[in-house]
Symmetry: C2
Subunit: 476 residues, 2 copies
């Protein structure tokens, strides 16, 4: 489907909604800001118990809003997680997952398919200004222009096509100790504004500040119309960088410096909303794309009491810090212990803004707004933990069942579990005590859930498989 | 030294202090309440990041006061930890540590030596009413009456001589699954009021409530005079019990129920202080005696991101949740990241109350009050991690050095490290990355600290070694 046709279809659905009584609710169009950290672990914020990282702005955001204890990213690594966030669908449905490559590489020709409908697109169709800063990682546009964020619903973009370690010019092996060093030329990350290369290598120590300034400007420029802003931080993904104002300020070392600068940035966004008198008309949601990258050692984050991290379907790989903030609508100082996921953000934000969700495809989330705003109970439902395109585990209520387990990195093959392993992640969030033999009916029920889910998954070609053999187009 | 002589000496020191200008400060005698949990882990409170245990009262106490990220118990298990709390001295100095027995058993003849001066004694000498509820574990008085709390400075006592699993009648092996069951007769714990046996086996489901009611009564009865109250909870040590009002209320299971009842109890104490208009004249300090008892599986707690638990000198064994509360004096919502320890409570509370500390012996803590009240910086100093009478590790600033490591339970012999292992526990609180080869001067400095400390430790007979061969006197 080409772009104009898609927007026409979405507009039609909105029109139908307006005709059939959704009017008063649809008339409300609060602003939406989604802030996504990169590789931030469950245990890495003060308000999630970290002893040496200080995050006063995120702590305040939680104190003024709702902090989630059981919120999941939709994938164990970056590309599929971000695809799920923007589409509301497991990445296996969009082709944005792969077992070997796992994420888009700097020469990947694939990208988020144009047939996918993004949150930006439905909000744009609803009359929202849409903007983005930060890490895209849903298409490497200097290899294939269809990857540009502006082809997927964003009016404006400032950021990187992919992770900050994906040196597109192949300058060769990094010196020992490189993770602790802030030398931009080793990484050669390209900063783009829309389709224009701005700086390569970008000085990564400035990235968080550049993104934040762009966000503040965007908010100010669009203060008189509804807007959607997607703030996808580059950090604390390695290589770690922090600006001079933050370098050396955290007891946690450079990782803490980067998180504390991110925390500062969140504070700047909320402060800008207050100053512009937009706070009570703006929903802000903060989370991370996946768990901490533990193999980075002291440069990697912490999953707190959870097991393993990025790359794995243990809780540490996919359970994330998450905070929702909407003064006057979401009551302050709430702790939300429901199992909810990144897949729910699309339908929830669509519901709160009166935007349409696509009706012609499987959508994997539910509308959480009655729960957020009125504490309405949520249905019992399964969440599926994918590693690449393989379904490794499922959670429903307090029960998490593993068909396969595998460390995020460094374990070449998974361990298959027959009978499956079962953990009560309320009693045992660290997934230490397999209780499957005590609960055969739970295991049987979860196996049925997996079976039912699998019938809904139609195989699609993977976007992550094809790699360009020519030199990337954007080489400076 | 007998009791009257000791009190005379303490009174003399107080008189001297009053003579030499300490008058205005000494005239202040705020109330002091120390609340000690049993085996609560670093990660077990909401305000320390636990996802399924809800502790609104302790969270509120932290929000109104000061929460500590780097507070240590003075020992890895119960008896030496409690001896250190009340004496301000490492247990190796008082004979209250032992490598094999580790804690006082139900037939131990030893007890806190009368030559030790307790916090209760110095506060009593300062004119305080002194009371205690809960677990004593510094002398098994039905074996040896010198163990009674009233011989060590407390005017009144209601509680248990030791842990709640130390069946003194030897009813034989417990049924399988006993940890999950609330059957008092299997445990046969004896509840005493002062020197009188009140109930055996006591119904442990009522213990937290009984203690709390006693505490509320004590506060009310002594509202017009300065008081010191030591609230030593029996839980969440196993076997776990919770009252009907709390049983089944926590997503974390029975462990969470017990912690949530303890949280309720803390709320009751603070509420009583508010109601009696004593809040601004009462210092309340909350902490735990040691880390979580991990071998109890789902019945044991969580050290969060820290390594190992009770019984070990890894951080999980000795770093504890800790909260100080004193409305109007300690500013609200502070997070104190200094390395401080249970050994500091004696000199700190003595300083805040104008009480004397013994001058004729090594005291291992320092006065934290300038830091708590005025954010005065603390000196760089070492803390020593003992396992029994053996010094296993030392921390100074961000550096923790291990001579030996050993799991809390289930590892018969320690691993000796030569050269010692070194961790930066600010950057790496989970103690995963040994960096000793990068920091030889730090290692050398810490070895010197150990050497200097060892010259101050005079060997004393262990109080934990001798076990009565006759049947315990208090058998019902």
């Amino acid at each position: 489907m080409n772009v104009p046709l898609r927007i026409f279809r979405i507009l039609s659905l909105t029109t139908l909604l307006l005709m059939f009584g959704g009017e008063s609710e649809a008339a409300q169009r609060p602003n939406v800001i989604v802030i996504l950290a990169d590789d931030l672990g469950y245990g890495d914020l003060s308000c999630y118990g970290h002893p040496t990282i200080r995050t006063p702005n995120l702590d305040r955001m939680a104190a003024e809003g709702m902090r989630f204890t059981d919120f999941y990213s939709a994938a164990e690594v970056c590309t599929p997680s971000r695809a799920s966030l923007l589409t509301g669908r497991y990445a296996v449905r969009s082709g944005m997952a792969h077992n070997q490559f796992r994420v888009l590489r700097n020469r990947s020709t694939g990208h988020l398919p144009e047939s996918e409908v993004t949150l930006a697109e439905v909000l744009k169709a609803r009359g929202y200004a849409t903007g983005m800063v930060g890490k895209w990682h849903l298409g490497v546009w200097y290899v294939e222009p269809a990857g540009y964020p502006r082809r997927h619903g964003f009016d404006s973009f400032l950021g990187l096509p992919h992770s900050n370690d994906m040196d597109p010019t192949g300058l060769g092996p990094k010196p020992a100790g490189h993770l602790a060093e802030q030398q931009a030329e080793w990484w050669n990350a390209p900063l783009y504004r829309n389709e224009q290369l701005v700086e390569q290598p970008v000085d990564q120590t400035k990235l968080t500040r550049i993104y934040t300034e762009e966000a503040r400007r965007f908010i100010h420029d669009h203060r008189k119309e509804p807007f959607f802003f997607y703030f996808a931080h580059t950090f604390p993904h390695t290589p770690l960088f922090a600006s001079g104002a933050f370098r050396g300020t955290s007891r946690r070392g450079l990782y803490g410096d980067a998180v504390q600068e991110l925390d500062w940035s969140v504070g700047q966004i909320l402060e800008t909303l207050r100053r512009e008198k937009l706070a009570e008309n703006t929903i802000v949601f903060f989370t991370s794309d996946n768990g901490p990258w533990l193999i980075m050692n002291q440069q990697g984050g912490s999953a707190g009491l959870l097991r393993d991290g990025k790359g794995s379907t243990w809780e540490g790989g996919m359970r994330e810090p998450a905070i929702a903030w909407w003064p006057g609508k979401i009551k302050p100082a709430q702790v939300n212990t429901n199992m909810t996921t990144m897949l729910d953000l699309f339908p929830t934000l669509a519901s709160l803004t009166g935007a349409d969700i696509p009706k012609d495809r499987a959508m994997d989330g539910i509308d959480l707004s009655p729960n957020w705003l009125k504490a309405a109970p949520l249905p019992s439902r399964p969440f599926f933990y994918y590693r690449g395109t393989n379904l490794y585990a499922v959670r429903k209520d307090q029960w998490k069942m593993h068909l396969f387990t595998q460390k995020g990195y460094g374990q070449p093959k998974p361990d298959a579990h027959e009978p499956p392993w079962l953990f009560n992640v309320n009693i045992d969030p660290g997934e230490t005590f397999n209780v499957s033999t005590n609960h055969p009916t739970v295991v049987a029920d979860l196996l049925k859930e997996i079976e039912a889910h699998r019938t809904t998954v139609v195989p699609v070609p993977s976007q992550l498989e094809t790699v360009a053999t020519n030199t990337p187009a954007a080489k400076p």
